[in-house]
Symmetry: C2
Subunit: 332 residues, 2 copies
């Protein structure tokens, strides 16, 4: 069995922070914190990103009425080299910390691993989180912002946002992590760093097919099948490939990268991306729907393009991964 079964791992609270253009998007009213200053009051984009994660974690603790002492484990990551946004953000909290790197799949990865620890009966509460910042990503992965370079239509826009989840084994507030599937790396040969959707699409397809093949479920068993951040290009490729492979998603597929922005009105090319994309959309758009019973079963398939600026310069292809998490309403 490759599908992981979890028992008694509830998501009791979530929190999110986003930047200005995310707040102006269709989900703008969903998020907990909105910061219109891209520097978050700091001196650099990197410190801004760290501050954003820090604020998100503090809001989560506040919403849950917990102190850092109540939390046994915190785990997550970001896109910065050596994941420093996360490290500096959690440093003061003094909670045992596991650093993860799954590119834009990090939110799903942190839920998978955090729930595994909580299921053991030895970890009562864990915080899973992920974040990304448009400005720090642009200068690290692409060009200095000051260049004002033009983007290709397939390029995605890194979300400035952080999302955090409190996995709790004691407080069932209606939403649980019930299954997980760790992704395999899929490298379909795409080398265009401005088309990460195309690179990640096959990883998403691989994970979705593995899940439905092994679980025996059908698309109809889920209210929504949500990919992380394939964007317009990647989502289309994934849907075509799934149908070619005999899986009909029955119109239940959607993508966090497509939901967070309005591509007609906002200058975001193929949609949103970055660790913060699926983290904030899941934490603040889908989680409340699960809580209210509007949806009862969802699959989050966090997708990550595991490239670096150096591997792109060295003309390597873009290995990708997609981790699946099944979130379910506990009170049927």
């Amino acid at each position: 069995m490759a599908i992981l079964q979890y028992q008694g791992c509830y998501i009791s609270h979530t929190a999110s922070t986003v930047g200005k253009i995310e707040a102006e998007g269709p989900l703008g009213t969903c998020f907990d914190l909105i910061e219109r200053d891209p520097y978050f009051g700091e001196e650099s984009w990197e410190k801004a990103e760290s501050e954003m994660v820090h604020r998100t974690l503090n809001v989560l603790l506040k919403k849950a009425g917990k102190t850092p002492d109540d939390i046994d484990l915190i785990l997550g990551g970001d896109l910065l080299n050596q994941c420093t946004a996360s490290t500096f953000a959690v440093s003061e909290l003094k909670i045992p910390f596991l650093g993860l790197y799954g590119a834009c799949s990090t939110a799903a990865e942190s839920l998978l691993i955090g729930s595994r620890f909580c299921c053991s009966g030895q970890t009562k509460r864990a915080i899973a989180f992920a974040g990304s910042h448009f400005c720090s990503s642009e200068r690290q992965f692409r060009f200095p912002l000051e260049y004002g370079n033009q983007k290709t239509p397939t390029a995605q826009c890194t979300v400035t946002g952080a999302g955090a989840f409190l996995i709790d084994t004691e407080e069932d507030r209606g939403v649980e992590v019930c299954e997980g599937l760790v992704g395999r790396i899929v490298d379909n040969g795409v080398k265009d760093a401005n088309n990460m959707g195309a690179a990640m699409a096959t990883a998403a397809v691989d994970t979705i097919l593995r899940y439905f093949d092994e679980s025996g479920h059908k698309a109809e068993d889920f209210d929504c099948i949500v990919t992380g951040d394939l964007g317009a290009e990647g989502e289309e490729i994934a849907e075509v490939l799934l149908k070619k492979c005999g899986f009909d998603p029955q119109g239940r597929m959607t993508d966090c990268g497509m939901l967070i922005f309005d591509r007609e009105k906002q200058d975001v090319n193929a949609g949103g991306s970055g660790c913060g994309c699926s983290a904030t959309v899941t934490a603040s758009y889908f989680y409340p729907k699960l809580r209210s019973g509007e949806i009862r079963d969802m699959l989050l398939i966090g997708t990550g393009a595991l490239l670096s600026p150096r591997t792109v310069l060295q003309k390597e292809s873009i290995p990708s991964v997609a981790h699946l998490v099944h979130l379910r309403r506990t009170q049927k």
Copy 2:
């Protein structure tokens, strides 16, 4: 309880690969593979690092008589931006993969998380690994090798090496992972990237004190208490601090970074560092001693300095972490 208890998680096999100067060091005869070409037959340092990890994983599978299909999960990481050495190394294997970032503590982190998955009864076999390469690290974190820059005496030498562990729930070959303790981030204000031992020492002390305080064990209960890669400077600081805090290690402390090189004869300044340091020394020096019964209980305290070149330039301090793993001989 912060200490994690594991049951039935055996390390059935290990494998390691090192470069030329590691092979010329005091442990040179211990390692599985030695490659004198720093390029490992590839065109760049980064591809060399990936090839090194790839070879190590293949040797591990061969030693264990397993194919990738027999492995349910692989998890690990490296020091490269976006952990690409690991990603490219595991890409072909098609084993579900979790990417981790714990800097030089990654080997311990991968054992902690891998064993947690295996303990669940749902993951039969997992491979935990970590690797680093002197040349790719130098150019990423410090200076181009061609500069031939001089190092300070407190600087450490990144080990060119990769170590991998097969965690098996079915094959008890005499060594188990029985306990773990996830480290908290400790930031003591050290900003000197050429003295990471001093930055990491307090993280190691924090974890060691937490472990002994909670477990009730004494230093005498262990044949050795092995830190990851504090080096000469960090090891001395850690020992002094531990004694000041009332913990006497009874001469049982040692450090992988001090063992792998001969500081008298080799030009390595304060000793070895890098993800590959504790990974290779644990896999190929300590593991055989556990297997043979020469030692029966050891603590590995993997230490990681969670800086990036950018945080150093931004004059930030160096947050550090230390993850503890208790390895025990099962046949007393």
